[in-house]
Symmetry: C2
């Protein structure tokens, strides 16, 4: 069994790097705080006697050898980057659970047939640089390395330069060095269903797909007073029209469809100037890829109509298209069995958030465990999972991983 005290204190330790005054975490991908947490994680990997690799995209691996030289490794992990003013569990819990699994095997001198490898994926959050799940996406071959290196944040900082700056552009190629047996990931649910159903842990059966993009409308800056309404080419009014539709489109598609505009930027952003250029994002998710594609088609249609009404030029940019995935029975069963054997009340659940497991699904059998999220709240400093629930989910993934690794 995992050492609960060490587990909790390790969680608290990580939360101090990039921790906010209000108890959250602001540890954006490739920021100085990301460097610091990576340095800290590197120390933990070394202290746990793992053989460490950092790949050219910054993904960090630590491997514990298995007894069978031909057995494929079981990979377990998540991410240490956070949302802007996000919570301390999102990502970190999955990495610390993986670390505690290794420490526990070491403490008890337990051997597994398969090697167990733990991982911290680069830029899972997708906030500073898009797409989300970027490190696992490149590693799994869903994205081109050079294209992702060239991505920029809103201030124009280039991904590759930022990766070099923090010293985590490693030597290893960003790709699987061999075949993998399975990938397991623990994450907080970030939705309300486990709590609503009073469950201890979630056995994740798949992950919604999503489409992300940005639309820019180009109008004409002009005076907000003497410019008659019918002379205007107002980029913000068009954006507002589309944003209200992004709220509405999900209700015309599926039960689980969600649509969000998280980002908007208006220029010149002055009270008495008609907005000339407005960029905003769309994001739609659903368990069905057809629904995702239809949502994307509709939002672009709405943009076309809004541009026509206001007499604007416009363009769009796709920022992400993650496929909907359903996990392999073997992994779902391993997680379910672990939860059952530990005596935890569980339910099977489809993830509404994206996870690195999305991409790992194309590499090997993949499964996930969810921990309860209070009020379903995340991407917020008030994100909360009790230490009890953290521990239950961590114990579940540990047992499932050892099971799959033949321990």
């Amino acid at each position: 069994a995992l050492q609960r005290e060490r587990f909790v204190s390790t969680m608290k330790e990580q939360a101090e790097i990039g921790g906010t005054a209000d108890g959250g975490l602001h540890r954006l991908a490739l920021s100085d705080d990301d460097k610091e947490i990576r340095d800290w994680f590197m120390e933990q990997l070394t202290a746990a006697d793992l053989s460490v690799r950092v790949d050219e995209f910054g993904n960090m691996f630590g491997r514990r050898a298995g007894t069978d030289p031909d057995a494929k490794p079981v990979l377990v992990g998540s991410h240490l980057d956070s949302q802007p003013y996000g919570g301390i569990y999102d990502g970190a819990l999955g990495v610390i659970a993986a670390l505690e699994l290794i420490r526990t095997l070491n403490d008890n001198e337990l051997e597994t047939e398969h090697p167990i490898e733990i991982v911290n994926w680069t830029n899972e959050e997708g906030s500073r640089f898009q797409p989300a799940m970027q490190g696992s996406g490149v590693w799994a071959g869903a994205h081109d390395l050079e294209e992702e290196y060239a991505k920029t944040d809103v201030d124009g900082n280039v991904f590759e330069e930022e990766l070099e700056r923090i010293g985590y552009k490693g030597e290893e190629p960003c790709e699987p060095p061999e075949e993998y047996e399975a990938y397991l990931e623990l994450h907080v649910e970030q939705g309300p269903y486990l709590e609503e159903n009073k469950k201890d842990v979630g056995v994740v059966t798949g992950i919604v797909g999503f489409t992300w993009g940005a639309i820019t409308f180009y109008g004409e800056a002009d005076h907000s007073g003497p410019t008659p309404m019918h002379y205007r080419q107002d980029a913000l009014v068009a954006a507002a029209d589309v944003i209200t539709q992004i709220r509405r489109i999900p209700s015309t598609l599926g039960e689980r469809t969600v649509g969000t505009t998280g980002y908007i930027d208006a220029k010149p952003n002055s009270i008495n100037i008609i907005p000339e250029e407005v960029t905003f994002t769309w994001g739609f998710r659903d368990p069905s890829d057809d629904v995702i594609d239809e949502a994307r088609r509709r939002v672009l249609e709405e943009a076309e109509w809004a541009a026509e009404r206001e007499g604007l030029e416009w363009e769009y940019e796709d920022r992400m298209r993650a496929p909907a995935v359903e996990f392999a029975d073997g992994c779902v069963d391993a997680v379910q069995t672990a939860a059952d054997e530990l005596g935890y009340d569980s339910m099977q659940i489809f993830s509404g958030a994206g996870h690195d497991a999305t991409h790992m699904h194309s590499i090997c059998d993949t499964g996930m465990v969810f921990a309860v999220s209070e009020n379903g709240k995340s991407h917020n400093e008030s994100e909360y999972t009790s230490w009890d629930d953290c521990y239950k989910a961590s114990s579940t993934i540990a047992n499932a991983a050892v099971d799959l690794a033949g321990g």
Copy 2:
């Protein structure tokens, strides 16, 4: 007659201070560039032998004595601050026209019965600090000095501190030191009517009133994926709803009613976080104060409905309420006569933009001259008025001012 060459070169000279690469002007109130243009203007006032005063709100006056010690001064001027990436004529043309009037009187050793005073008002634009027409508003008693000193820009800089920083918190009280005979202001039209009607100059008969304010919605940051639509409290969706109504409300009120959202700011502004806090502005204008008040009532009603739909807290802040004004016949006639005598084709026109003349109206008889704006465009670097049109409008105001000053 004004010296056309000196007039044009003075216009070009001022346009270099805070001039942008694209031929516009970025000279925000109380910025370093505002300090520089004020220093330059001070030199011009002194070189023109005027007796100079700077008041405690930064308004700058230069007076040329009249022959009758009992005659009240005629005030002529406008403002030297600009919009962010605005044009080189908006404001500056009216100040330079006033300066050239003085220089021409000096050159020709002409005397007037009344003193003629020229003025550069502080923060007419209202972009960095609200309200617009702030300096003239305090001077005319429409606003409280201390309240305006306490205003802040979006970065939290305090008006009074910025005024001290640039060295223009003067000694004089910010109020009329005596009674005034009249106030005249030349400005670019900023609307399309003079050009559409192929006129040389506009004889302004009044100024629309306006209401400005800002609405803030407070929702809950949460994850854009696993958070079901009906769990959301999305501050940006509510803002978008109201912004589309701000486009629509004018069409339900008057022929000249306009409504605009120029500014929006969303937090935390991340692609996969439901927006938690969004602030945006409203601005409505109309020649009727009743229409203005009704527009304000309706936008707040829309905000209440949108907040209810999304389950948000909200608040609003009034940022400006300028009354609609109609100019005194005496000034309108003086401007009309000047245009006629100079052989310019003119039309009477109601201003859709706010001007310092709005506040001067409560102090003394007030009038304005408009110069043609190409395409009606302003608050944009591509704002354009030909030197011909600048000169015609400047000649008109010069003659009108000399007429009113008994010269």
